[in-house]
């Protein structure tokens, strides 16, 4: 850079020398130095005052505002995240408790149901047994009853048959005794 600048300067100096005959460097002509100095100071003073009084504070304000806003937003975001994490944990504990309760309820109702089924079953079985016993008794009764009726019928038949064959009327009581005797001998076959 430095060598390039010196090259430029020498070039400019030689070039300027070529034309210096008529004009030279206008920069070295002091005619308007005072004017340039005056206007420079005036313009720069105005520029400096308006920049330092109006624009820089505004820009600085704006930058500070943005920084504060970003910081605030970040803080809020952090807070919200913590809150949501807490909420999530709460939710998870609630779900876990609910699951536990459900399991408990399930177990309880299962047990209750089993118990109920068992007791009902027992009751019904007892009833059925009773019914069976009752029916058996009835059957036996009926069988017994039927035996007496059979005895009567067979006595009648026997007396009729004897009457028909011999033409003689036998003593009813003796017939009865014989029939009873026979039926007693064979009763085990039917009961």
């Amino acid at each position: 850079m430095k060598s390039f600048l010196s090259f430029l300067t020498t070039l400019v100096v030689t070039k300027a020398d070529l034309f210096a005959a008529e004009a030279g460097m206008p920069q070295l002509d002091p005619q308007y130095w005072a004017s340039q100095a005056f206007w420079l100071i005036l313009v720069f003073a105005i520029l400096y005052i308006s920049i330092s009084k109006f624009y820089l504070p505004k820009i600085k304000d704006n930058l500070d505002n943005r920084e504060n806003k970003i910081k605030e937003d970040l803080e809020n975001a952090q807070k919200h995240r913590e809150q949501s994490e807490k909420k999530l944990q709460e939710y998870e504990t609630i779900v876990e408790n609910a699951k536990k309760e459900v399991a408990k309820i399930l177990l309880e109702s299962k047990n209750n149901l089993n118990k109920e089924i068992q007791s009902k079953k027992q009751k019904i079985e007892k009833e059925i047994e009773n019914e069976i016993i009752k029916a058996q008794k009835e059957i036996i009764e009926m069988k017994k009853n039927s035996i007496t009726s059979i005895e009567i019928i067979s006595k009648n038949i026997v007396s009729k048959i004897i009457e028909n064959i011999s033409g003689e009327k036998l003593n009813e009581s003796s017939i009865k005794a014989v029939v009873e005797d026979i039926s007693k001998k064979n009763i085990d076959r039917y009961l």
Partner: protein, 244 residues
């Protein structure tokens, strides 16, 4: 053919002659372009700070970027003590930058290509920095000329060199900007003249060179404004934080 590449630097009067106490303070094209540059800066800053959006638009972003750029430059070179001088450095940087940039437009006038303008700015900075140094440190400020850790034999010589370098600050500061601007614009003019004189057949080479130079000059315009501002910061740093 406007063959004189120095003609672009001539100052001429616009309007009536203004004379105050025998001194010619007429309004010139230089004054005009100073006012144009300052107005551009103020317009830019006005538009850039008008709407205070959280998410900035383009102009606001550029205004805030330039603010942060200068703020960072100051805090990096001169530390936090230089904060009160931030508006001045900012104005200085913007003024030099926009004057340089406006000067890049054809038919315009480059305010900073005049030694008197840069010299006044540099002298003001020099005097202000010296005054600030003496206010902050009293006569201890003179120790800036006596670097520590130098053998006693060399001390007088070093001190003389330091004094000379200190006193040449305004000269180097002003001549650097002025010479850069003048050299660049003269080069552009010279190559522009070559384009015209060589015509349609031979003019392409200087034309392409001229295009390249324009790009370089825009870079130099920014760079010189930056250098001017950062040197001011460095001088200010010497005055605020005496560390020799």
């Amino acid at each position: 053919m406007a063959s004189n590449p120095m003609q672009q630097f001539t100052v001429h009067k616009i309007g009536p002659e203004i004379k105050i106490a025998g001194v010619d303070l007429s309004f010139t094209n230089a004054s005009l372009f100073m006012i144009i540059s300052a107005s551009l800066i103020l317009l830019f800053l006005y538009l850039g700070s008008k709407e205070r959006k959280i998410v900035p638009d383009k102009l606001q972003l550029i205004a805030e970027m330039s603010y942060n750029f200068v703020a960072k430059m100051i805090s990096d070179t001169a530390g936090s003590k230089a904060k009160p001088y931030f508006p001045f450095i900012f104005s200085l940087f913007m003024f030099v930058l926009i004057c340089n940039m406006v000067g890049m437009l054809p038919y315009s006038f480059t305010v900073t290509s005049h030694i008197i303008v840069t010299l006044i700015m540099a002298l003001f900075i020099f005097i202000a920095v010296t005054v600030i140094g003496f206010i902050k440190h009293g006569f201890k400020y003179l120790s800036i000329f006596v670097p520590s850790g130098v053998p006693v034999v060399l001390l007088p010589l070093i001190t003389i060199i330091e004094i000379i370098s200190y006193l040449s600050r305004p000269v180097s500061l002003s001549v650097r900007l002025f010479a850069n601007m003048m050299a660049g614009h003269t080069m552009l003019k010279v190559f522009g003249g070559f384009v015209v004189s060589l015509g349609i057949l031979g003019g392409w080479l200087p034309l392409s060179f001229s295009v390249a130079l324009t790009g370089l000059e825009i870079l130099v315009a920014f760079l010189q404004a930056y250098v001017f501002a950062i040197l001011t910061c460095i001088y200010l740093n010497d005055a605020l934080n005496l560390h020799h």
